[in-house]
Every structure is written in C-alpha cells, then in structure tokens.
C-alpha cells in the first residue's frame, strides 16, 4: 500500500519535473489554453449529463419554444429556430465537431505517417511516385479536395444512405485531404534516420525492413508528428465547420458547430443574433486553444528554442 502510494508520488514528481511540464508552467497562456481545451473536451464528452435537453432527440423539441432570447429561464443562451436550447446544442455540436476532427486527424496521421515511412525508407521510384502525388495534392486547397471527395461519395452512394453515412464521409474527406503534411515530414526525418548507425546495425543483424521502420525509425519521428497532429485537429475542426456551413456536412437534425452557424446566419438580419454568435464563439475558443497548445508543443519539443 505504502509502496503504491510511494510509486504514485514518485510518478507525479517525475511528471512535474519533466521538461514539458516545466515549460508548461512557465507559460500562463498555455495553461489557460490547456484548461479551455480540457473544458471543451469535458463539455463535449459529458454532454448527455450536463445539457438540460437532448437536441438530437426530435421528440424533446417543441417548436413553440423557438427563438427564445438568451437568459430566458431554461434557455441560458437562448433557443434556435427549431426550439433547441442553444447551450445544449452547442455541447452536442462540439461533440460532433471534436469527434469528426479527431477521427479525421487520426486517419490522416495513419495514412501520412505510413506513406512517409515507406517513401523515406524504401526510396527510389516508389518515393518519387508518392511525393509527386503529394505535390499534386498540395497544389489544391484542402477544402477543395474535401468538397470533391464529399461530392463524389454522395453521388456514388445510394440516396437513402445519405443521412447515416454523412459523418463517415465527412471524416474520410477531411482525413484524405490532410495526409500530405505528415507524409512529407516523416519522409524527411526517415531519410535522416535511415543513415544512422542504429538503423544500419539493425539491418546488419538481419531485421526485416517493416520491423526496422516500426520499431526503430517510427519512435524517433513521433515528436514533429505530434505537433502537426495537434495543430491539424484545429484545422480539421475548421474544415468540418466550413463544409457544414456550406451545407455539405452533417445533417441539420444533428447539427455540428458549423451547421449551427449556417442556420443562425439566416437570422442575422432579422435580429436573432444569438443563434450564430454563441456557436461561433464556441468554435473560436475551441480552435484557438488547441492552436495555442500546438504552438507551445512545437516550441517545447524543439531543443534549439530552449
């Protein structure tokens, strides 16, 4: 028992004295950003327990409760055109935005890192091919590629599935449009690592290329990937919001933050400003804090900046 407590204390101390923790303590902005990010994630994760209403359950909506001003009892941030409580809807919407963002980043990360590793390690024609594809994709804006993938997926899949596959399609289109950064970074690092003694030693003792890539090269390229990934989460959330704002994202019965902003946009002129303002603020806070965290992580992991 005492051993366990002792171990826990030692672990806490180790974390507290770790380089990252030290640099985090020195930057109050980052502490605030981290707190806000955690708050957003917690809000999204525990939405069913925090939110007074489940805005995704149509039976709980009442059209007669639409367009309440912020501050109306039961509707702290007001309600939208369908009678959804905005506070609840933002929590549930953040859930979709964060979920789509994380899943898309994971997809892009897996795709980009594996292509980058193979490209850098194998080299030759395969490397040239993968890098040219990356170059071509880099010359298109990411949002354009996401729109294209989304459009093709929608047309090629049967009509009645449109509702249920909207979110997977969204994740796929954002993920596919973002793999290039990972691939190029990882390829560059792999080229350097490949020539180092430990890799050559592994080769000499006869380890297979796949094992070398995964066991030896991969752990040494994770730092930059982590930084790109963090910043990419923010970008992916914005891309999702943009697609939803353009009306090609998630269905309106399960609004994400972007869908909410689009809906509210129609009511800006008629005086119902809160429908677009609050989801907009939520999006800004979420993306800004993740971006600040990513920036800090980049500096903290870069030994030359210490």
């Amino acid at each position: 028992m005492t051993g366990l407590r002792h171990g826990l204390r030692a672990w806490t101390r180790r974390v507290w004295q770790h380089d990252l923790a030290w640099s985090l303590r020195r930057s109050p902005v980052t502490v605030i950003a981290a707190a806000l990010t955690l708050l957003c994630i917690a809000g999204a994760l525990f939405a069913p327990w925090i939110a007074p209403q489940n805005p995704f359950d149509p039976a709980s909506l009442n059209l007669n409760e639409a367009f309440h001003k912020p501050g109306t009892p039961g509707y702290p941030l007001g309600s939208d055109d369908q009678g959804r409580d905005l506070f609840s809807t933002i929590l549930y919407g953040a859930r979709i935005s964060l979920g789509v963002g994380l899943a898309a980043v994971l997809l892009a990360l897996i795709l980009g890192v594996s292509l980058g590793l193979v490209s850098g390690y194998v080299g030759g024609r395969l490397d040239a091919f993968i890098m040219r594809v990356a170059d071509v994709q880099l010359s298109f804006p990411a949002i354009l590629i996401a729109l294209l993938v989304d459009g093709v997926a929608r047309v090629s899949l049967p009509n009645h599935m449109a509702g249920s596959i909207a979110i997977p399609v969204l994740i796929f289109s954002i993920g596919v449009s973002g793999w290039v950064q990972y691939a190029r970074t990882v390829r560059g690092l792999t080229l350097v690592e490949r020539e180092k003694e430990y890799v050559q030693a592994a080769r000499v003792i006869g380890r297979r290329p796949l094992a070398i890539m995964l066991a030896h090269v991969l752990p040494n390229v994770t730092g930059p990937v982590l930084v790109i990934g963090t910043i990419h989460i923010a970008t992916a959330i914005i891309t999702e919001a943009t697609l939803s704002f353009l009306g090609v994202g998630v269905p309106p019965t399960q609004p994400s933050l972007g869908t909410l902003i689009r809906v509210g946009n129609d009511f800006l002129f008629s005086g119902e400003w809160w429908i677009t303002l609050f989801p907009g603020c939520a999006l800004v806070i979420l993306v800004l804090s993740i971006n600040l965290l990513g920036d800090w992580l980049r500096d903290a992991l870069n030994p030359r900046l210490r």
């Binding site: 009509n159 009645h160 019965t253 129609d266």
Partner: protein, 519 residues
C-alpha cells in the same frame, strides 16, 4: 425659319419622360421561347411579351385577349373570334394562321407546355379572324387552361427558322429562345442571362396599360440577403421572393410598402400508399400508410399553427385541404384546421398495430419552397411526439423531383400551385390513379381510390356548374377525410416595394407591369 419649325416639330415628337420599374426576384428565366419550358419565372416574364387568346382579369376572371369572343357550337367545338387590327412587335398582322401555327408548335414533344392545350384535338381556321377548337371531350375549364398557350407569329418564325421549339435538354439555342416577337404590352429590348432583362412599352398595343410603367428592368438576384439589401439601398423598386424572416423588418421600414397576398400553392406531405412494404422504413411485410388510421394520426400530430407562427413568421395559411383560397372549389368551411393532438395520434397509431411506433424516411427539398427544410425538421419533431421516428433526407429540388417521380420514396414534401385556379387541376394531377398523360402525373405516392377516380373523370366533362361544384366538394372532402395527403399550409407571398411604387398582387406570384405605377 424652316429650321425652327423642324426643331419645334422634333420637340413635340419627343414623348413624355418614361417611367422605369426595376424589379428583382430570385431566378432568371430559362428561355424566351414561349413553347419550351413550363417554368414559373419564365412564364411570368413571357406574359409581358406574348399573349394568349384569353387572360386573367384583376380578380382572376377570364377576359378576352387575342380573342374578342367565343361560343360553343357543340360540347366539343368552340368558335373563337380573333381580335382585328392587332400587330406583332415586328409589324406583321395577327391572323388565324398564327393561332394554328402556334398550336402545332406547342405540341412538339421537346416542349413542356402541352398541358395547356390538353384535350384540344385540332384548331381549324374558319377565316382570317375565326378559329374553331375541336375537343376530345367537353371541357369546363378550357378558357382557363389556354391562358398560357401563347401565340407566336408564323411569318416571323419561318423567316428566322424558329418553327421548331427549342429543346432545352439538348442545350439547343434557336432564334426564338433569345428573341421575342409577340403582341403583348411590352417589347423585349434585351436579355443578358443571369444579369438583366429589359422590356419597353409597346406603343401599338391594342389595350391600355393601367399603370404608367414604360420600361421594365428585371434583375435576378440569387442570394436572399443581397436581394433585400438591393431594395433597402434603393437599387431596385420591387422585390418578390422575400425571405420570411426579413418580412417583419421590411414592414417597419417607412420607405417601403408591403403588398401581402397568398399564392395559390399548397405545401403538403405525400405518402407511399402503393407498395406492400415501405422502401424506407423499419416495418417489414406491410405498409402502415395503407391504414387510414396511421394517415389520420400523421395529420393530427402536425401543429400547423406553430409552423405558421415560428417557421413561417405568420406567412402561411394552415391547410386542411389540398387547394388554396382563390382556387375554384375551396371553401372556408372545408379548409378548417383542427389543433394538434399528439396524444390522440399516438393512440391511433397503437390501435393500427404499432404500439411502439415505427420509422420512415421523409424526402424533403431544401431549396424550392419557403423554408422547406425547416418545416420538414419541425415535422420530424412533431411526429416524434406521436411515436413515429422520422429520418430526414433533405436534398436539392433538382434531385428530389426525379426521385419522387420515380416513386423512389416513402414520404415526401411537395408544393402544388394551381395555374388554372380550378380544383380539377390538383385533383387530376395528385389524386387520380396514375395512367398516362395528365392523370396522376404528380401522384408520387400512387394514391388510388375508385370513388375519387369516378368523381374526377366525371368533373372533367361536366358542364353543369352546380353539379360540377358538388362533385369538387365531395372529392375534396373525401381526400381530407381519408387523409390521402398531409396538407400543411398555403403559402403567403408578400412583395416589397418602394413607397412610390404600387401594383396589383397576383396569386400566381407573377407581377404584371401593366398594373404597376411608379410615381
């Protein structure tokens, strides 16, 4: 001296200063060919240039236009006397040959306006100013039907090789699709697609314009916000297709005048009543919409007043029947809406054998009717309270309409406007069992009821007004009581204009410049 006379003569010849009406709405026209596209905005523009034998008066009564009178020689033969001394804009005189030519032209298969001469077998020239319509059967609404059958000059079409109707599907362009030569109150001056359309008054028109507008500039502006801003900035005088949420604000603006009126268009939900198993539902082996109790329950659960107040901002008339006020056959008494009762609806659905409710997909357009997608979303919530789980599939109208016409749907939203102002048009298109031609042409859920079919077929040829009216009442009542459709509301279509502009509101949502004044 001579010069001074010349100058005075010139000054006298200059007409009084013209008045321009600058009008903006959402869509551009598709073509200037009057026999090519059955499209609301296109017809609304064409009617300024091309005329038919009859036209609507201020209260939608039939007025003589290019025909001065008509009489029935037999139930299937009508004789029309044509107006004399009418000239087309290019100066060619209007004669019976032009009517016969236009009839042949509108029937060409690549056009989509044959519906306006449906039932007319032949048009025979009697002399230069008389034609006979030979009908397939008696037709009580012939004079209303042929309003959008517009007359084109035979000589002009032949001279410019525009005898063939433009084929829009083949992206065909003809002389007649870009130029116009009618007999109407206004002459086409120019058309730059998606930019502007210019008309000037026709000084040689046979009738008198009631207003003072000599020039019309029509600008299509797609974005709601931009269109409203153009009016507020004074760049346009008249705006139609107003976004509902801005109407209240525009009403309070002292520089503007709002003209309120309804459109003869009813928005409703149709249900698949043909398949033995719904294509998009969790009910297997049977079709719940074949049970009148389920259809009644869906009707009962809809809170039409809430949709009117919240989603439509007061700009709708809750509907119990399938035709709007102003359509012949509509009565206040028939169109009485009862309040929503989700609890009773839930009970009724349980009685029908679905104690735990059921699920189906609702197909909904998201860019056609006023707030269409928002209304569908509200319906999802209302039906959920009756225990029915609805999946919403909101798609653009251009993909929605072919989908439901193929019957690839379990439930769908549609709006139905009535060009003839007569209930038969709605009953025949939406309720009559689908055959070929106009019967059941938009009966996408395949409603089929022997009693209604008999009634509708009888009213097509019944010439006794009293008997026919009784049939219409019976049919509309039966459609309502058997809940073959879920009518939602009739659309209101306010127009906004500057204070110095006045015009006549039209229930077909087509402003007519001949009624407009700019002071």
């Amino acid at each position: 001296m001579k010069r001074i006379f010349l100058l005075i003569a010139l000054l006298l010849a200059i007409p009084a200063q013209g008045t321009t009406l600058r009008w903006a709405a959402q869509n551009d026209i598709l073509t200037f060919d009057p026999h090519s596209q059955n499209h609301a905005t296109t017809l609304a523009m064409l009617m300024h240039v091309y005329e038919g034998l009859t036209r609507y008066g201020k209260k939608y009564e039939i007025e003589p236009a290019l025909a001065t009178g008509w009489k029935q020689l037999s139930p299937t033969q009508w004789r029309f006397s044509l107006r004399r001394n009418v000239r087309f804009h290019d100066g060619t005189p209007f004669t019976a040959d032009d009517v016969v030519f236009s009839f042949g032209r509108i029937q060409q298969p690549q056009g989509t306006l044959q519906v306006y001469v449906a039932g007319v077998k032949e048009i025979r020239k009697v002399d230069d100013h008389t034609v006979d319509f030979i009908l397939a059967g008696p037709d009580p609404v012939l004079l209303r039907k042929i309003i959008d059958f517009r007359i084109m000059s035979k000589a002009w079409a032949e001279k410019n090789r525009a005898q063939n109707v433009q084929d829009a599907k083949a992206k065909d362009e003809t002389y007649a699709s870009r130029n116009a030569n009618g007999t109407g109150a206004y002459v086409l001056k120019g058309w730059e697609p998606d930019k502007r359309l210019v008309f000037a008054a026709n000084p040689a028109w046979w009738d008198k314009r009631e207003g003072n507008v000599t020039d019309v500039i029509y600008t299509p502006i797609k974005s709601d916000a931009t269109r409203v801003s153009a009016l507020l900035a004074g760049d346009v005088d008249l705006v139609t297709d107003l976004p509902t949420q801005d109407v209240a604000r525009l009403k309070q603006n002292p520089a503007l005048r709002m003209l309120e009126g309804h459109e003869v268009r009813t928005i409703f939900i149709g249900l698949d009543q043909h398949n033995n198993e719904l294509q998009y539902s969790d009910v297997k082996g049977k079709n719940p919409f074949k049970d009148v109790r389920v259809r009644r329950a869906l009707n009962m659960a809809v809170d039409r007043e809430a949709i009117k107040r919240v989603t439509m901002r007061g700009l709708s008339i809750p509907a119990a029947i399938m035709v709007a006020p102003g359509v012949h056959g509509h009565t206040e008494q028939l169109d009485k809406v009862s309040g929503a009762d989700p609890a009773a609806a839930r009970k009724l659905i349980a009685e029908a054998g679905y104690p735990n409710g059921f699920e189906f997909t609702l197909d909904c357009p998201n860019n056609r009717y006023v707030n269409d997608e928002e209304i569908c979303q509200a319906l999802v919530g209302m039906w959920a309270k009756a225990g029915v789980r609805v999946k919403l599939n909101a798609i653009p109208f251009s993909t929605h309409i072919p989908k439901i016409l193929k019957h690839d749907t379990s439930a769908y939203m549609l709006g139905w406007g009535v060009a003839t102002f007569d209930s038969l048009y709605t009953l025949q298109s939406l309720v009559r069992t689908k055959t070929t031609g106009a019967d059941g042409s938009f009966n996408c859920g395949r409603v089929s009821d022997a009693k209604l079919d008999a009634l509708i077929d009888a009213m097509k040829t019944e010439m006794d007004v009293k008997k026919r009216d009784a049939m219409i009442q019976e049919a509309l009542t039966r459609v309502r009581d058997e809940a073959f459709y879920v009518p939602l509301h009739h659309q209101l279509r306010p127009w906004a204009m500057k204070k110095n502009v006045s015009t006549l509101h039209r229930a077909d949502d087509r402003p007519e410049a001949r009624f407009a004044r700019v002071d």
